[in-house]
Structure formats: C-alpha cells, structure tokens
Subunit: 574 residues, 2 copies
C-alpha cells in the first residue's frame, strides 16, 4: 500500500473511532450564562492533594483546588457527547441566530459554482451528507456582531465570550494561586473582570472581533482583540499532491485539541469545496480562508485570468458554507509592486504574488481594492469578518519594515475604515520576518495606521538561519509582538519553508504558539493568566508529578519524558 | 542487553569510529593571525551558482561567494586531523603558555584527592591514559588573561579571539550579503572591526573574559562579553544512575558540533574525576564545573559535612585538570535564606540549596563567602574564571525578581570587585524563571550592581506551563536578555524539570539557544551577524535548496523535512 493511501486510511480510522477524549485527570466544565443555552465549555484540571504532615504510612493531606483552563477542543474533549464527523457538530448558536429574526434560509445556494458542484454526481462520494441549507441576512439587514454592538445590543455570543475570557478564575480561592506580577500592557486595557458590556464596547469600537458566520453555528464564540487573551491560529489544508479530506478533518480535530483558537483552511487541491464543507461542519472554532486560492483554481491557476465575477462567486460560495473570516489582499496596489524589486526575497505572500501578477499583467488596480465596498456588502450579509492580508509582508529579515510593507499597511488602515462603514468586523494581517529590534515598531505603526483594529501576525521570524525550527524562530517574535499588543498569532510549523505540515508538525507549531501567546498574556498582565503557572510551580515544588503533567500544555510529552528518565531527587534542580 | 549497556556501547562505537566530519558542502577554513601558530578555525559553506539567464539546457550562471561561519566544533569537523579520544586533542595553546615563562610543571598533582585517586589501581580501567602533568603559576605570578590585559599585554589568545569574532566578514564582497538593519544595542559597544587591542581593553575592564585555564591548552580561545557575539553553554554530565564516561564524551563532541561555545560538566556520579579528565582532554571549548557538586560527593552527599578544606582541595584538583571556569555560590548568605520561605518554589539552584543547608545547620556564614579571597588566589594560579552562581535564582515566574534574588545579586557585585582585585576573570550567573515584562530589569540591575561584568543566564523561562518544551519557554527569555546585553546563555533542554538530557535533547537545546543567541546578535546590530540570514534568504528566493540546507543551523533536519514533503512551487510561500 502506498504511503499516501496508508495515511489516508489511518485518518479514516481515527475519524471512525472518534470519541470525546478528555485531557488527563480533567473534566469538561460548563459555565452557565444568563440563559440555559449559554454554556461555556472549559477544561477543569483536577489535582492530587498535598502532603502537609504525618508520615509515609499516615500522611496528612490538604486538597488542592482544581484549575479551570481555557479550552478550544469543544465537544472533542467531552466523553458525554456522541461524535460523528459525517453528521457534524451540534449547531450551538442556531437558536441565537434565529431569535434575532434578521436572517432567512435559502432554498438554493446563491453561488453558481456551488450549484454546479452540487449538481455534479461525480462528487457525491466526497460530499458531506447532512448539508444544512444556507442562511443569509434578510434584505437590508446587517447581521454582524459589530452591527449589533454599535446598536448597543449584547448578543449571546458576547456574553459567551465574556465568560470564556474570565477563565473561571473567580472560582480560585488560594492567594498563592492568584498572585501575579504587575504586567506591562503597552496601553492595552485589561479589566479585572470582563463583562458582556465590555465585550460589546470593544467590538463596537472595532478593537475586537467575534468571528461568527451565521452559517457556522457549530462554532463556540471567541474574541480576537488586544484587550483579551492572545489567540493562536493554525493553518491546515491540502495541496494538489498531498493529503485527503479525511486527513484534513483529522488535522482540524487535532488542532482544536492542542489549542487552535481559529483554523485557516488553506487547501489548494482538487476538492477544496468539499474539504471545506467537512471542516466547517466539524469545527468548534472559527474557520478562515484565503478565497483567492480557490478562485485561482477555478481559472486553472492562471492569475491573469482572475476576475471580479469569479472572485465574487467564490466569496458567496464560502460565506454560505460558513467561513468565519476571509483573508483579502486588497492592499496590494499596482504602484507598490515595483517597490519590491530591490528586495532580498520579493513578494512571498502567495495571495500577494497572485494579485501583483494580476495587476502587472492587466496594468490595472487590484480588483479586490476597486471592489472592496462590494466585498464588505457580502460579508455583512453573513457576518464574515475581514482579515486584511499583508501581501507585501517581508520574506526575509533583510526586507522587514521596508517601503512596500508600510505603504500597504497605510492602505489597510484606509480599508479598515471602509469595512467599518459597512459594520464589517476587521483584523489586519502582519509580518512575516522581522528582527527583534524592529518588532515593536510594527505593532505601534499598526495600531496607529489601522485605528486599533486587531493585529494578526505570522510570527514574525526573528532570524532566517534555522529552517526546520521556524516554529521557534517565529515563536520568539510572536511572544514579543503578542506582549506589545498583537491580538492573534498565526502559527508556523517546523516544516515552514520546507514542506506541508503533517499532524505532528501541527502539534509542534501549536504548542510553540500557545507558549508564545501565554507568555504574552502574563507579560501584559492579563488577570488570571498566571494561575496555571502558579499551580504548576506549586506542584513542582511539592513533587506532585501527576499534577505537573496534567497542568502542562502537553501532558503526554511531559509524562513520557519523565518516565524515560530520572529519579525524583535530581529533577528538583530547576 | 540492557538499555544502559546498549547506549554505553553505542557511545563507545561512536568514539572508536570518530573522524573529522565536515558539515555538508563546507570545509574547515583557518584564518591566519600574526604568527604561524595563530590559526583560527572557521567553517566555510560553499554555495551553488545562481542561474541568471539562458535556458534549461544552457543556463547562464553566476557564482556565489562562500560564507564563513563561526565554528565551535574544533578538530571534530576537520577531516584532515586524526582523532583519538584516548590521546585527546592537540594542545593548541601550549607554546603560548610556555612562552610566557610564568608557569611551571608540577611533578605531582597538588590535590590530595587527585593523588589518592591516581594511586588507586581500581580506577585504572577508567583513566585517561595520556595524562599531562599539571601546570601552575610560578610563585608570585598571576597567569590570568585579565592580569595580562591590565598590564597592557595582548596575548595570542586575545588576537585569536579578535579574528574569530570578526566572522571572516571582511571576505564578503556582495552588498546584498553585507546589508543589515541598524541594531538597538542598549549601550553595548560593537565596533565595525574587532581588533586585538579592543579585546584586551574589554578584558582589562572586566567587561569580557577569555576562559583559558593553563591546564586546558586544547581549548580554542573564545570570549564572553556584551560587546561580542552572544555565546551559548551546554550542560552535560552523568548522575549516579545514568550514563557512562563514553556517553559524556560523546555528548561533549556532539555539543561542540551543534554550537556549544562552552560546556559545563555537571556530573554527580561515581567517577566524576575520571569523567572530567576525558572531557577536558577532548574538548575544543572551555569547560565549566560546579565544584560543590563533587565536594558533596566526597562527604557522601551530606551537605552539613562540607568544609573549606574539602572544597579547597576540590578546586585545586579541578584547576589542575584544566577546568576553565568554576561556578561558586558565594552569594548565598545566611541572612538571605529566610527570604525564600514565602516563595512558590523555595531555593531551586542545587548549589544554592546545598549552601543554604550548610549555613542553616552550622548557623554560620557560607564558607565560600568567607574564603572568597583564597578561592581567588587559587583561580589566579591557573587562570580559572569565576562564574558567580545565583543560588537564589527563582524557580517559578512567581518568584522572579524578589528580595532574595536581588539581595544576592548585590553580593555578587561585591564579590566581583574582590575577584578583580585578584585579577581573576569573572562572570555573573542569572535566572531562571522570569516573565517577559521583568526580563529587562534583570539585565539592567546586573550591569549596575556588577559593574558590567558579563552576565550568564539560564534562560530565563518566561512561563512555567510547558514542561517538555522548556528549551522554548526559556529560549524566548534567552533571546530577549541576549538582546538586552546578556553575554552567554546557558541552554535548557526539552527534558528540563523532567529528566537528564540525552544526545538528541542536547541537540534540541543547542539549536534553540543558537537561534536565541543569533537573534540577539542581529537585534543588537553585531556587524556581520545578518550575513548568514541574507545568504540563506537569497538562496531561498532562488530555490537553491542545497544552499538553504547547508546554511541552516541544522542542515540535516532541514534536508530531511524537505525530502519528506513537497514540490518546489508551494514551498515558495514563505
């Protein structure tokens, strides 16, 4: 059997036998909101008692409080929930959406491509069986969280997010556990307790987004903004030569387990449409895409043949599937392309280079820029958030912070204003490759040029000399920019620059980025962030090994390393 | 066969078949100094030509300059040199030491313990066969590089270091390669060209050290100081239950290959003396130790039974073997111990807790503090540098920057002055576990309290929640403190807090720390640091895959990841 076939079969087996798989010595904790259908899933780590006296035969012990931790794994870590990837997850937000009475179900999909695809029996074997009907805003309605927020409405999504961001820390009684150093927040506003009204006001101000396409009711609400916990995105997606739908769904489930707050499906292969359907229906986290990738497939990979109608249909196709945010490279303007000629590595963003090619061949302005209002109108009908892509991001530390990069950033600021005019939630993408001494100015310029819209960066990598370890070269930059105010960090895996990530690479990338994001939360002074560190340190001091493993970001690896090695005594040397 | 026995045999085989093993497509380059015996070994990476025109059949190419890079691997990467670990490396510095005429060969070792050990035939099978006679300063002489520097003497060691620190960058002609962003140096003084006189003046000022015990003439001179390249230390060493001499020598060779600038032998097992002999005789990099570990073995692990005579004999034993620097926990004062009572994790430094136990049980001041002048006198006779240990370093982010830690730091400053009075080269050890927002103040306080003596830190770890990944949690802090001015970073391996590192852990720790150190060099603006990044980025842009692998910190992994995966096209997305 070929390797390809084997890994596809393994993924199939994994999905067939999928069960809610709790983390070690942890249970799923649901924090109740103001109504019975607001139940915020967290993970609660149970600890062993401390020995405080007595002797070996009759130890006197003291119980330790269990520690609630943020949990992105959704139903996949709840053994009580029956899972079936062929049916998808339960639509948690369905009622909330319906109760707003501003949407309607469509009998047929609005996208021509979707209609053709559904009519083609050749794809039947790949299709997700239980396809829901698409939903759209009623004529004249705007269904974005930003729109509600600006009208003063606190949605259930906002309340959910407020509970989630508080980390259940009001449950912790021990002063040892809640002790924390003052943070250095660089202007971030981190209230002691996050209220639904605070969430609303941040969304209304454009400083935060809650990606929540009305066609992705399975997703658990989460928020991206400087005044909240730093988030992490994982990229998955197949290419024309590698991996199947099964493998991508497996990577999705795996990403959520290891802490992905959102997942981007960057598939470029043959069955993009069907792959995405499976991913969205099974995802408890928001899904992002780069629609130009699929549009390019539709014109057989020839950038010059791209057009607004093809792209527009792709947006609608994906919006009605439930994509929560679109990366749009609308800031790659014709006049910026020559600025990259003297660069070390030219244009490295795939979306950026596609649009640059289009602009040059037609000698016309980027159609994403000229049609940006229409893009916003589509997004507002489904509440798709915009992630304004940085097509001019540097691909080498040498190219960091150059004219092309910062010229584009200014345009992204202008586009932010336009998106906000349409009440479309917006975040801004950032570099890339930036040496440490230039990281801070990226954050400062973004805040200024884009009016505090949330920043979402890839890394940045702080050196180029370690291919094979770019999760780490970029994790350093990610931790720093997260501290300075970046709202979401797009992970990089060890395979970056070398190949497409497999399952283990996804995990390594995620752990590196969870570390970066958490280090940033602590440094900013996010209330409650240090509780988990404190709990783990106390466990370490008292040689409660099991508790150390179970509180670790990766309990399996911590346990395996310990078991492979050492007597307790030497391990005390911290 | 048991696992233990098997890994010992594997190590033995590795050593038996040891040959100078060049890095891929690289050769050993020796830069000549002012005399024929100053030959500074570097690695020169040869690149493939760029295709600049023509067609597939008849490409027009342009040659690319080869890139010299700093090389810690010594003779182990030179296929021209015959290697035999039973004989040890050639004594590169022997003539320089002899020509100074301030030392004498001893007929017998000065340490009682060494004499007993040599007389005991039970250890014959473990012993290094070609033991050199120990050398010591003539009565009244001081043989430290600091002493020479203050007298205005430029030693061959200083000239060697100057050539080494310039990275051979004067050979590079391409402006694309030498382009670099301005650094942010936080007061570091990084001249465009490092001269032997600059090295001398930095050593004379105490701002840098060249660890160079006269009994370790095999070591290639290197410098530790804020105004030079940031260095990395690797800890190796067996414990009472794990690993053999063979395995430790293998780890030494392996550490040097992957970039260890110095290696600390932290052995605590049965054959510390013999293990160290093998390590030093085969090490091209300076070797550090924590002598209290061996002293404790000599009193059967009972801290209370430690005494100045036992410790003093251990210092002399190790100094005559050739240890280049001693970690001495002389700042752990009796009055500081109670300050740790309210800590999350108490005292986590092994040396610190040994001395705290001694102080408390005798209710006396730390004998390392009270005998500090005598320690310095011993060091000056062999040029052993002092690394003033931070016995009060925090073991949890919660304990960072507390009273105990900073009280000790002030004492380390006082001790620095004493050491300098004896012309003993001195560095200062630092934390530990420190959240990002508190890292900078550590560096600033150290510079101030210790009069710019070089700082040498373990990490710091910026979060405690990722056991199994502490090479990374600490690598973030290491990159930052290196940027702020830390001179040497003590690596942490993935096994930190969980077990003792094996060969692969050593490599993972080193690569993480080489990344941190290099990122710091770039951020500080070290001239020439960015050349390797630029060369690799250009190779990436031109799809010169072989060059990317060969310029990478870990060519083997970069190549393996690429081969396991992907067509060239997709890999362009950087």
């Amino acid at each position: 059997m070929s390797n390809r076939r084997q890994s596809r079969q393994q993924a199939q087996q994994y999905l067939d036998s999928l069960k809610g798989h709790p983390f070690p010595n942890s249970n799923k904790l649901y924090l109740q909101g103001s109504s019975s259908d607001i139940r915020v899933g967290m993970r609660e780590v149970h600890l062993t008692p401390s020995i405080v006296g007595g002797d070996k035969e009759n130890p006197i012990t003291r119980d330790n409080e269990s520690i609630p931790v943020y949990d992105t794994s959704g139903p996949y870590s709840d053994p009580e929930i029956e899972l079936d990837v062929r049916k998808g997850l339960a639509p948690l937000r369905k009622q909330w959406i319906e109760q707003r009475q501003d949407t309607e179900m469509l009998e047929v999909a609005s996208s021509d491509f979707t209609q053709q695809r559904l009519a083609d029996q050749g794809f039947d074997h790949l299709r997700f069986e239980h396809l829901p009907k698409p939903r759209r805003a009623k004529a004249g309605s705007n269904v974005s969280q930003l729109h509600y927020a600006r009208k003063g409405i606190i949605t259930p999504e906002m309340e959910y997010v407020a509970i989630r961001e508080n980390l259940g820390r009001e449950r912790i009684r021990s002063e040892m556990l809640t002790a924390a150093h003052p943070g250095q927040s660089f202007g971030a506003n981190l209230p002691e307790r996050i209220t639904p009204e605070f969430v609303r006001s941040e969304v209304a101000a454009g400083r935060a987004i809650i990606p929540s396409n009305i066609n992705h009711p399975e997703a658990e609400p989460m928020i991206i903004g400087r005044n909240f916990l730093v988030k992490v995105n994982a990229n998955i997606g197949n290419s024309s030569v590698t991996s199947s739908i099964e493998e991508e769904v497996e990577k999705l489930v795996w990403s959520c387990r290891w802490g992905a707050d959102t997942v981007m499906d960057l598939s470029t292969g043959r069955h993009i449409h069907e792959t995405r359907e499976w991913i969205i229906r099974n995802s408890p986290v928001p899904i992002g895409t780069v629609p130009i990738y699929q549009a390019l497939e539709k014109v057989n990979g020839i950038a010059e043949d791209l057009s607004w109608p093809v792209f527009r249909d792709t947006l609608i196709e994906q919006a009605e599937q439930g994509v929560d945010y679109f990366t749009i490279h609308a800031g790659v303007l014709l006049r910026f392309v020559p600025m990259t000629a003297k660069r070390m590595t030219g244009i490295v963003s795939r979306g950026g280079s596609i649009m640059a090619k289009w602009c040059l061949s037609h000698h016309q302005e980027n159609f994403l820029y000229t049609h940006f209002d229409e893009i916003c109108q589509i997004c507002a009908q489904y509440d798709v958030a915009l992630s304004l892509g940085d097509g001019m991001r540097p691909g080498a530390v040498a190219d960091a912070n150059d004219q092309a990069q910062f010229a584009e950033l200014a345009v992204l600021g202008e586009l932010t204003k336009t998106a906000w005019k349409h009440d479309v939630q917006t975040i801004i993408e950032g570099p890339g490759h930036v040496p440490m001494q230039l990281v801070k100015v990226n954050m400062e310029k973004q805040l200024e040029e884009c009016f505090e819209a949330p920043f979402y960066t890839l890394g940045p990598q702080v050196t180029d000399i370690a291919p094979g370890y770019d999760h780490f070269t970029s994790g350093i930059g990610a931790a720093m920019i997260g501290w300075y105010g970046c709202a979401m960090l797009c992970y990089v895996t060890p395979k970056e620059h070398l190949g497409l990530p497999e399952k283990e690479d996804v995990k390594q990338g995620l752990i590196a980025y969870k570390i970066a994001a958490h280090a940033a939360d602590i440094a900013k002074g996010h209330p409650g962030a240090q509780i988990r560190d404190n709990a783990l340190s106390l466990a370490r001091f008292e040689f409660r090994w099991e508790d150390q493993f179970n509180l670790a970001l990766d309990p399996d690896t911590a346990r395996a390393y310990h078991d492979a090695s050492l007597p307790q005594e030497s391990a005390k040397v911290a």
